[in-house]
């Protein structure tokens, strides 16, 4: 079990947050590429949400046509560089690799992908062409993965595209919400810059769209609008004492870490509440920031966690302890958090029940709530005739069009929270949907 020293410098931070999928060198890429079997109707392609022609780009890498490999990748996925690193490849393409059936390590598809795109981006090779202007304009709300993919695709189709981004950086959760050992800020931002230089979409930073007037302005000035707003702040749990100092949301915690790195304050004892991938990330990050004790607390059993097994294993290997079948019933402390009061839970006739007769307190100086993000319902309410489902997700048709014909949507706002690669796919397809609709 790893024990991390509290990082006090950038170098120490980088050491604790060593990249999980480091860049391949030429030799490694050549040898790894040589292993690909070039399967017919390859399972890896089917497993990729953006259906990248993986055997093709691997063969291109092997024949030293790295630019061609990048073209193959970006043709399917505008965020091919980021996805190569942040995708949970073990459950997607690499999980589908036929070598798994032979007890042979699968091809390291993600790293090969990143090898090609990274080289192409660093060489600043021109791969894309803006489509001949059709005189139409698209507004994109949110410059996250979905919005960026929509913008790129729309530019190749000849649209003017303006993105409206609430924060001061593009990429949404890729830069603000993904664990720092998965990708660095520099790597995320250089891909966006590369795309923007060639495709020329405009991003208006610090420009949240959150009023009826602003929406009316968009509706007046643009032919179509894409909603790629993702999810909002961490949901309130409604616990007694939840407002005490030291109780933070996971998304907010990770964002601070991504922006401030080693200057983020993490105390000695941390409790992380939740059982999803974000909880695993937050716990792992707290441990890597030098917390002496990090406890992951999930209300159901280990088997029922939403997190991927490999994400849980990664947290455990960072020194995180876990508690299962416990639910928080209050935060204790005098002004500042001093502990979390938990009650045990148990399955009764298939339903999870809280046993208030079996409670205990876990002492801590910080509580990270990784119990889900709220939806951007306040925005949806401002859009006329916008249908949302019971979980406040925007409803779309097969063309990614919402019930208000002028609005299209994709990414977390539609799927309730999934991978970057899903958002990248949605954004691309939504731009095609917009194009089909405007050319009806």
């Amino acid at each position: 079990m790893a024990e991390y020293k509290r990082p006090t410098t950038k170098a120490e931070f980088d050491k604790n947050f060593k990249q999980k999928k480091p860049l391949m060198n030429d030799t490694e890429a050549y040898y790894e590429a040589s292993r690909c079997l070039f399967c017919y109707d390859a399972p890896c392609v089917q497993a990729c949400p953006t259906h990248i022609d993986i055997p093709l780009f691997i063969k291109q890498i092997h024949t030293d046509n790295v630019t061609g490999a990048s073209k193959t990748i970006f043709d399917s996925n505008w965020l091919g560089n980021a996805c190569g690193v942040v995708c949970p490849t073990g459950v997607l393409c690499e999980g589908a690799c036929v070598y798994n059936h032979q007890d042979v390590p699968p091809i390291q598809i993600g790293r090969l992908q990143n090898y090609a795109t990274n080289k192409t981006i660093d060489a600043n090779k021109t791969l894309f062409k803006v489509g001949a202007s059709n005189g139409k304009k698209i507004a994109v709300i949110g410059a996250g993965p979905a919005g960026l993919a929509c913008a790129c695709e729309a530019r190749t189709l000849g649209y003017e595209v303006d993105l409206f981004e609430a924060k001061d950086k593009p990429s949404g959760l890729t830069v603000h919400g993904i664990a720092p050992y998965k990708i660095t800020n520099e790597e995320v931002l250089k891909e966006v810059e590369y795309l923007q230089n060639q495709l020329g979409f405009n991003i208006k930073y610090n420009t949240a769209i959150d009023s009826k007037d602003e929406l009316t302005m968009l509706e007046t000035n643009y032919d179509a609008i894409f909603i790629g707003v993702g999810l909002g702040a961490t949901r309130h749990l409604g616990l007694e004492g939840e407002d005490k100092k030291g109780v933070v949301g996971a998304v907010e915690f990770i964002e601070e870490l991504r922006m401030k790195h080693h200057n983020t304050k993490v105390p000695a004892k941390v409790v992380v509440i939740g059982g999803g991938n974000t909880a695993m990330d937050a716990a792992s990050e707290a441990a890597r920031m030098g917390a002496r004790k990090t406890v992951l607390a999930y209300r159901n059993s280990k088997e029922n966690m939403g997190a991927y097994g490999f994400e849980y294993d990664l947290a455990i290997s960072a020194g995180v302890d876990s508690l299962f079948n416990v639910t928080p019933i209050g935060i204790v402390g005098n002004g500042h958090v001093e502990g979390v009061k938990f009650a045990k839970t148990e399955l009764v006739e298939g339903k999870l029940q809280t046993n208030m007769n079996n409670t205990f307190i876990v002492r801590c100086d910080m509580v990270i709530k990784a119990t889900g993000q709220a939806k951007q319902g306040h925005l949806y309410d401002l859009i006329d005739d916008l249908d949302i489902d019971k979980k406040t997700r925007i409803k779309i048709n097969s063309e990614f069009q919402t019930s208000n014909a002028k609005y299209f949507a994709g990414g977390d706002a539609v799927n309730g929270g999934a991978e970057v690669v899903n958002a990248a796919y949605d954004g691309k397809m939504a731009a095609q949907g917009i194009h089909n609709w405007l050319n009806k």
């Binding site: 079997l37 017919y40 109707d41 399972p43 089917q46 036929v98």
Partner: protein, 444 residues
Amino acid sequence: MVDLSINFAGIKAPNPFWLASAPPTNSGYQIMKAFEAGWGGAVWKTLGVPVVNVSSRYGSVNYRNTRMMGFNNIELITDRPLADNLREIEEVKKYFPDHAVIASLMVESRAEWEQIIKDVENAGADGIELNFGCPHGMCERGMGSAVGQEPEVLKTIVGWVKEAAKIPVITKLSPNISHITDPGLAAVQGGTDSISLINTIKSIVGIDLDSYAPYPIVDGKGTNGGYCGPAVKPIAMHMLKDLAQHPEIGKVPLSGIGGIETWRDVVEFILLGATSVQVCTAVMHYGFGIVREMEAGLRQFMEDKGYNTIYDFAGKALPNVTEWKHLNLKHKVVAEINADKCIGCDLCYIACDDGAHQAIALSDDPVNRIPSIIEENCVGCNLCSLVCPVEDCITMVKKDDGTQHITWNERTLNDDIPVTFDDDRAGGKGHFVPKPTDALKNER
């Protein structure tokens, strides 16, 4: 008791592993080091009037992550003075009297041949190898493969050599010829004691995509080289077989050369009639140490099979290498896929559908992806079993009962062969092929 020693046309050696005449036998230092490592003999880098070489001499064909699967060179014969080589031959023989030291020779005139033969005999060489093979450089000067490609000239020179030589003569043949038996027979008629083959094959191993010059590049230009390495082994074995099966040529001992790297290669060459083998590229790639693997493997094979000497199995495969017309047309094999081993790559499917006989069907189940053989369409071509990346997953299973036997030759004698363009006896008549337009329906 396994005894690896050989007597090759009068040349004795502790084992059949010889170094071919090439860069690894350029000096006494290298040959002594090789004998220390376990090699039984060495053919000295070709002696003659010393040459001047170019810088940038070798090129390579890499396949996937395998380096030097094929290899070529444009280096000529020795560029060292004869006296230096002779002195070193003498020294090597002093330290290794029981090992075979063979002098490879290449000169022009009869007088030169007579002189240099006397010189190497005086130095203590156990045999002479005539280099009639080099396909680059020397052939432009009327030597090497220029001789190997002219059976009459070859016969004359072998005759000169045999008249002059007191030690055994090996004639080394060039593969750059249509029928290897032509120079082979000429060598035997000229009186050679034995034959070695193959020398290298004329080749261009690659073109540089920036300078547009062939490898190896010498100041922006290149020339054809001599190709060798694992890639040429099948060609070498075929030519060896042709000589070994020939009623006259097959009587002289044959030394096999061409892509030999492991004990398996050695055994295969011996099974096709070689009674010594010569190695170059593998040594240039891995050093002299590879002989340990070759010797250990050969010994193990012989122990397992109960052979005492290599002569117990030399040529054992020759009766089984026949002409196509003598193959049994009633033999029938069909592919069988082991579903437990299949990993679902579906390479067999696409190989068969695009490259063979449309006899494999994809699985309807997108999860297991295990394809199935359409037995009535399968012609037993082996392709699927060859592309399958899993050992023993696709096997070819015998389907005929072994009682029937008819060959093309017999059918010809029986007047039972297709003779017109639309003959009913066409082998593929009635065999399933999809309609041409079915190709357009395969959208997935």
